[in-house]
Structure formats: C-alpha cells, structure tokens
Homo-oligomer: 394 residues x 3
C-alpha cells in the first residue's frame, strides 16, 4: 500500500526531465475531462476485465491475451503502482491485487490518481453495473456533469410514440428537455451509419414515413439514414436553443464500425451547413484521422477536437499521435478527454498519456527553439482545462 | 533594425548543429520556389492579417486568435527577428512593428530572408492588392516566372464566348497562348469538384452541351464536371505542345474543399491515362496525403510532388511531415515550393521550415548511418533547386 | 571479400547501442519470413536491376535513376558490404561487383545474411527466371514452404473448364488440392478490383453466368467482381477445410493499383462475415494504411498484419512505420514478412530494416520507461517468429 499515491490531484506519471517549471505546473494542473463514460462498480473476473481493455468484443485467440497490447502493457506499467505493486506486474498478479483491494478502492485510487477536476460524462452506455456521473465525481473528488447521447434518447421515444407525427414532436420535446439538464449532446451516427451521411435536413414527409416504419419495430437500434439525420438536426435545434456543443464519435471504434466511414472529413459538408447556426461541434477521438480533424478545427470556427481514448489505446506510442494533432490544430481548439470507459484504469491512463504525450511534444518544441516556455505553458493550460471551460461554460 | 538580416540569400533559420559542411551548404543554397502566389502590398490591420495566416475564411472564435496556431507561433518566433524584434514577440508588438516598417520594407526583408533565387508564381489569385510576379522578383532579388491557373483562364472565355462551339476553340487558343508565355499550368479542380473526377476526356458533344449551359451564367465559378474535365484535357494538350508541367492543388485547402476528395491517390486513373502523353504532373501540398503522393511519384515516371504550404502550416511539426514524404519519394521527384500566399511571412516561413525540416531528417539519416554526407547533400540540392530547374527547364 | 559476412544466421545490421542483451538476442534470432517471393537467378543488366528495386514498371526519367530512392540508397549502404564493398558504393560499382560475383553467390550471400530460418513463399509470380521456394531454402539455409496465389490458380481453371458449371467444381477441386500442399492462400483482389468488394458470397446463378462469359476469353486476368468474390469464398472454404490462413495484399502496390481502393479498412464487412468461420486473415504490407490494419487486428480475433515490403521501400524511414504499427497492434498479431521479390537484396533489406526499425521502437519504449526489457524481448520473439509459427503451424 502506498497511501501517498491516492492524494487527490497529484498525478504521478513521470514527465520528461528539464521541463521549465511553468510548463510542468501547467501539465500537472487539474484537468477537465470533457469526454468520459461510467466504469464498472463490481468485481471483475479476468475474462471480463480483458474485454474491457480492448476495442474487440471477443476474447483474444487461444494462447494469447488482451494484456499483450499497448494498453495492456500500460496497465501493468502505470496502474500497478497505484495499486501498490511494482511496475510491469504480470497480469495475474495485477488482477489478484485488484480483487484484493476491491472495486471501490481500486476505482477511488485510479480516479484520484488521474488528477481530474471535472468529469463530463456521456451516459449513453449507462447501466446498473456502471458508476453514475455523480458517483464518478464523488470517488474522483471532482465535479461531474452529464452529456446526452441522442441515439439513446431516441430509443425511448421510438418505444412509446404512437405515430410518425407524434414521434417527431416527442423527440423534439425530449431532446429539449434533456438538453436543459445536460452540458452537451453526443451522436454515435458513425456507428449506426457512418459519417458519410447526407448533410441536408430531411423533409418532414420523409421523416414521418420513416418513423412510421420504425415504430413497427422500435426495439431495434436506429440505423435508418433519414431518421438518424432527423435526430441530428433535432439535436442541432436543441443545442442551439440551450447553447450546448454537439459532439460526434469519430475514428476507430469497435468491430461493428466501418473504419473508412468514420473519417470526420466526411462531415465537411455538414460542418459547412452548421457554421451559420453557431452550434459548436466537437470531434471525438478521431484517430487515425486526427490530422483531418485538426484541419477541420483549423478551417471552421465552430469545430473542436480531442484524441480521447486514442491516447490510451496507443499508450507508449501516444506521443506521436499528439504530435500529429499539434501539427495543425489551433491551440484554442483542442480539448482533453480521457474517453474513459469500462474500467477506472482508463481514467488514469487517459490523463497520464495525455500529460506525458503533450509533455513530450512541448519538450521537443522547446528544445528546437520553436516555442517559448510561456507559449508551451499556455497551450497546456488551454488544452487541459481552459478550452473545455469556455466551450462547455463550466 | 538589423540591416545584416536583409542581405540577399543568407537564410538565418538555425540548422541543427553537427551537420557536415557539404550538407549545410546544400541546405542554405538559394532555392527555386516552384509554387508561390502574390502577397499583399498594402498596410494590413490585425483582422486582415489574421485571415491571411489561417486556412479559415472567418475570424477565430470570440476570445481567441489565429495567432494561437502553429503558424502564428512561427511568425512570432521566426519573423519577429527579421523585423528587428525579439523572438516570440506578442502579436500586438509584431503587428505594430510591421506597421512601423511599412509593407514595402516588411515584404523586402521577409522575401530576401527566404534565400530564394527564383519564384514560379501562380497568378490565379491575382489582384491589385497583390504583388505581381515581377514585383516579387524585384523585392526578393530573384528571377520570377508566371504559372497559369487554368480555371481562371476559363472564366474569361466563358464570359466572352458566343456558343458552346466557340467556347471550345477559344479555350484551346487561350490556353495555348498563355502556355507559350508561362512555365506551367495549374488546376484547382480539387476545389471545384474533387480529385475523384472521371479520368476520361469527355466527348465533344457533351462539352458543347455543357458549355451552352454554362454560357447562360458565365459569372459563376466553373463547377460542371464535364467542363472541368474538358478544361483539364485542353490544358494537357497545351502542356504537351509547350512542354510544360501540369500541376494540381491537392490535400487540405480552405473550408470550401471536401478534404476526403482532395487525396491525390484519387487521380491514379488520370495519371495512368497521362503517362503515355509525357506531360509531367506536379502534385502540390498533398498533406495529409503526402505518403500517397510520394507513392504516386514513385510509381509514375511523370509525377512530381511537393508538400508546399503544409510545412508552413505545420510549422514546429513540419519535420515529421518531411520525414513521411522522404519515406518513399524518389530524390529526383521532390520539389521545394513555399506555397506562399497573402503575406510575405509565408515566403520566409516556407523556406525556413523547408530547410529546417529537411535538415532534421538528413541529420537523423546521417546519425543512424543510413546515408552518406554526400547522399544527403545531393538530396538537398536536387530537392531545393535541381529538380525544379530540370522539370521547369529554368 | 569478407567471408565472415556470409556465415548463416548472423545478421550484421547494426542495432542501437545500449539495448539489453535479452532484447538484442531476441532481435537477432532467426526469423520466420511469412511472406516473400522468388528472386532472379540470372545475371541482370542495370536497366533490369533498376526495375526490380522500384514499384514502378518503367525506367526513371532521363537523367535520373531508381537508385535515387530510399531503397536504392539502402542497397548501396547495406548490401554493398555483404558483397565485400565499402558502404555507400556508387551504383555502377555495386552492379559491377554483383556481376563479378555472379548471381548464385550474390543470392547466397544476401539470403544468408538475412538471418531467416524459414521462408513462406508466394509462388504466384513464379517463372523460370525466379528461384523456387526449395531453391530459396537451399541457398538461404532455411526451411521453405509454398503459398498459393488464388488468382493464379483460377487462371488455369479458366483455360480448361468447358462450362460455367464445370468451372465452379474445377475451381473448388483445384483450390482444395493446392491447399492440401500449401501453408496459406493469398489473394491479390486489391490489384484486380480493389478492396471495396461486396463482402457477400455471390449466388451460384450469378457465378455461372459470369463464368460462362469469362470462358470466352480465359487468357485475360480475372477482373470480374462476381468471379473474384466467388474465388475468394471458394478459397475461404479451402482454407477452413485445411486450417490455413487466407492472406490479402493491401496498401501500396504498382502503378496498376488504385491506392485509395487498397485500404484494408474497406474489408471490414468481409472480415465481419469471416469471423464466425474461424479462418485467420493476414493483411500484408498495408502501408500507408497500417494504422487501419493494426486496428482491424485489434478488433477482430482472426486478423493478423505485417508491414512487409513497406519497410524495405521506406528504408531509412522505416522506424516511423514500425512505430505507427506498434501504436495499436496486439503483440500476438504482428508478423515479420520481408515481402521480398525480384532481387535477393530485398531479403537482406527486409530483415535488416525489420530488425533495425523494431529495435528503434523498443529502444524508445525502454528509454521512456514504458516497457520492461522482458516485455520488449517477448514482443521481438513473437513478432519475429512466434506468431508466424502459431498461425501457420510451422
């Protein structure tokens, strides 16, 4: 046990030596995590844990393990010490120690270790096994707010609406109501259709017809392109009304998603259509299309970007991803988001890799004489919390 | 004032220590800038200046500035000293000094500092506010030649032609005439349509029909796919006749361009069709598709490539872009082009980042024992001027 | 002459200093080359040799040479000493020495120098001028097995089948028969159609109709999408029956291939369809889509990946490619394959760049404190031979 590891807001991930104090302080300052999800509250056996540290939805092939991945190696390296183990502990040792401490203590330690001051939680994958936003905040010693996943909201409407016409008005009311209590709306249209959707708002007639079809089988996840676009535009209205950002999951996802249709560049037409409306758009994760995302953030005043969970999945390689994002992204357009989900390890690793990766890039900029120390510190502050506080008004 | 900064042909960008003399000399030798545009001749207020240092066409969001970008940081770092300021001068100080010196002196200093021996100027965005090719040459102490933007030439024909048939012959005459006085032709079909155009030459009948439609509204920018392709093939004829390269803007542009349709790989079929004709094709900018562009340059004997303005926009991150291009591009196929436009800073930064980025990559190759110093020097000479002199016969 | 250079299994490529012994030993251990081709057995004049070291199918432009490429520089740097020359020997000196030693000795030296214990040879480009798998094994002091290229097998059936119905059954018999003697099947559908093929198995009726058309002109390479898909699914059956992996050439190829249709991400739907069948799929080369390939290997339990010949073509830049692959690829999913073809230099360079690139990445992971030395050694062993032995049961 190393109780000093769990003091709140003191991230322990080693930063490169030689960073100017101002830059080091900016990097270690509490973060606003603008994009995360709940994590499991219960004891997990190895097969469960392995499925929560991989984008796959099936076990690793016989004789192999999901620990043999960049993220798995990072858990052994960086999370083991938070649980009081030596770095690089073997998977079995790590999981035994995890069981010994129990999930509440493990979650508390890893959440505190992340050094996060505020969680904005996408509750679209909520369930009884997952910590709620409020619980995350309590365990992590941080503020917590909710983000609405619009495809999830739609499911409730589809199950209750009596007609296509009723579906339209109920959806509008529901999204407006949820928007009034949330800090942002998120769409997973990349998973349901792809980002190559028609950017135009569909006609009311087409929506009614499609909704009437949907109401005959409302338990199915929504994949109809007309209704997905209608949902999106209804969300745009709600976001504008309540001055909220609209967010999109983009880039690599699970096996269900077609990776070539998850490039946010495919949304350029939609982003152009949104520009006069003034709703901020946040592109989430984006990897391996983060250069495209950075470009969109550079040319559209209302577009923001993070690389979220991609830093956790690329782990030891995350500095290169951060460097590529920073090639082009305006400093006022990048946000920290852990993209955490499933296990509390992803909070700690998300924050740690973010800090380490950004530190590496800033360090290189300083060594090359490109940026001043105060430039570097300012970029770290803006990206770590300032931009999120401005965009989400939190 | 530091008058020593403005001696012609002595670029001041710091190169990595420890480069062999031959490599250093090759990197600092005068460049042929095979792709640039005019820059503003007049005084600029801050809002104007900001719009000229970003690919966006609108101001940064309230409370932010386009100086908070990699290119903005580079202006403060590298251009401030050329104007006699300390590196990293704040934006307001930089712009005040710029106003104090006046545009003629600012342009003269920045152009000279770039160390460029010849400008090949795309005059497609010409206007009274912009320095002409001849003026750029005078201020920069360099030779200057013109490059014809074919979509601009077409506009004049569309406004005067009396019929579709007349349009065809007038276009042919006009391009041939312009080609006889130019060093190359450039197409911006990426901006008007996308690079996923049908590679086949359209039929005369289809062209006449489309031209007749166009002549009813000739003030509009050309976006008809048939006429764009006809224009391209007419340009191919003119380029072959006058032994000129045909160039394409590719990769990231402004908010009007669909980034996923700007991948030069989409042109593979067109490049195959052009191969027997023998017209050299130059792919401009290409970022973030520069690996695709390098591949096209590797497999097609008539294809050349630069990363142009991408080095200026990625600034402190440009060495990674250069490294990726050099993974695959044949040494006789890469060209230096600043892609400069709008403000003279982009000439200085284009040349500086090119030299620094290439120096970093060569330095790494030498340190790893991969290339000899004479290999490295030769690559720098070929890329900096030799290839352009051969391809453009200048 | 340096006879000590040609002792078998002692690769001479310099690895970074300071690697822990276990990591160095793992990197230098004999490799299983799971993807290579035959190389020329005969004397080659310069024009022939140049065409074998480039993906182009035509000579370099007048006044230039295919030696002026990353791969060309690597031949001068790394292969020259194996032939007893100084590093960086000029092309003419290199080729003169090559002629002096004669192809048998050159091939023997370069193959031995590669330090490869087993060759899995794609014989789809076989011909009398190329060394057979058995000959490669003999010269290289290694085991050798054959891999069937299914599009080549189809050509023989197309030339002899009497009807569409006969074509179907003959194809099934032929692939099953070849599968029984081979270690894997390979498809080049990327070159014949693109990877954006319909993932569904075509109907028997559609196949018979298409086959009847094909039999009227059986000498043409197969490009019909229905028959290509039928061939693929017939190969899936044969692979399942004989427990073999099915492999796909993806990423950059020659001038005939549309690079934007060679992204393995386009196959996501097909990979989903294959998952329940249990046939391992190996994605070959993948560059510049190797991040997409790594993702597919991460989300699908049956998908494996190499970057093959891309390490040889990117040469001095190959460490960046390796680093990008290792961002995401599970350690049990990456395979070493030289992708060698044409000249024996590509075996030596494939193995050398693999070892050097992986060493660079592992070295960085160790220096950053991300991985333990035993992690790094294990990754090197798995990637270099362990994974291939498991997947190919060799």
């Amino acid at each position: 046990m190393r109780p000093e590891d769990v003091l709140p807001g003191e991230p322990s991930g080693e930063l490169p030596a030689g960073l100017p104090d101002a830059v080091r302080e900016a990097l270690l300052a509490p973060l606003v995590d603008h994009h995360c999800h709940g994590v499991r509250r219960d004891d997990l056996v190895r097969s469960q844990f392995e499925l929560l540290i991989t984008p796959a939805d099936s076990p690793a092939p016989p004789g192999t393990t999901h620990f043999d991945t960049p993220a798995g190696a990072a858990i052994r390296r960086w999370c083991a010490p938070v649980l009081g183990l030596e770095p690089h502990a073997p998977p079995a040792v790590y999981l035994a120690r995890r069981a010994e401490l129990g999930p509440a203590e493990v979650n508390r330690r890893l959440l505190r270790e992340a050094g996060i001051a505020a969680f904005l939680v996408d509750t679209g994958v909520d369930g009884p096994d997952l910590l709620s936003a409020a619980e995350l905040g309590r365990l992590g010693g941080a503020a917590a707010d909710e983000i609405v996943r619009i495809e999830r909201a739609e499911e409730e409407i589809a199950e209750t609406a009596a007609s296509g016409v009723a579906y339209i008005s109920a959806l509008e009311t529901e999204l407006a109501s949820r928007a009034s209590r949330a800090v942002a709306l998120t769409s997973v249209i990349a998973h349901r259709h792809g980002l190559d959707f028609d950017p135009a708002r569909p006609s009311r007639g087409a929506v009614i017809a499609a909704a009437n079809r949907r109401l005959t089988d409302p338990k199915e996840p929504l994949t109809d392109p007309v209704l997905l676009r209608h949902l999106l535009w209804t969300a745009v209205d709600a976001a504008r009304e309540h001055n909220l950002p609209l967010r999109f999951q983009t880039g690599h996802g699970g096996p269900d998603l077609d990776p070539h249709r998850a490039d946010p560049a495919l949304m350029a037409g939609f982003l152009r259509a949104l520009q006069p409306i003034g709703v901020p758009v946040v592109l989430l994760r984006c990897y391996p299309f983060h250069r495209q995302a950075a470009h969109l953030a550079a040319v559209f005043p209302h577009v923001y970007v993070d690389v979220g969970l991609a830093l956790t999945t690329t782990a030891a390689g995350s500095a290169a991803v951060m460097a590529e994002l920073l090639e082009l992204v305006p400093f006022h357009k990048q946000l920290f988001g852990s993209g955490a989900r499933g296990v509390a390890e992803t909070f700690h690793l998300g924050a740690l890799h973010y800090r380490r990766a950004l530190a590496r890039v800033l360090s290189a900029r300083l060594a090359a004489g490109e940026w001043s120390a105060s430039d570097a510190a300012r970029v770290a502050h803006m990206t770590g919390s300032g931009n999120a506080r401005r965009v989400y008004r939190r």
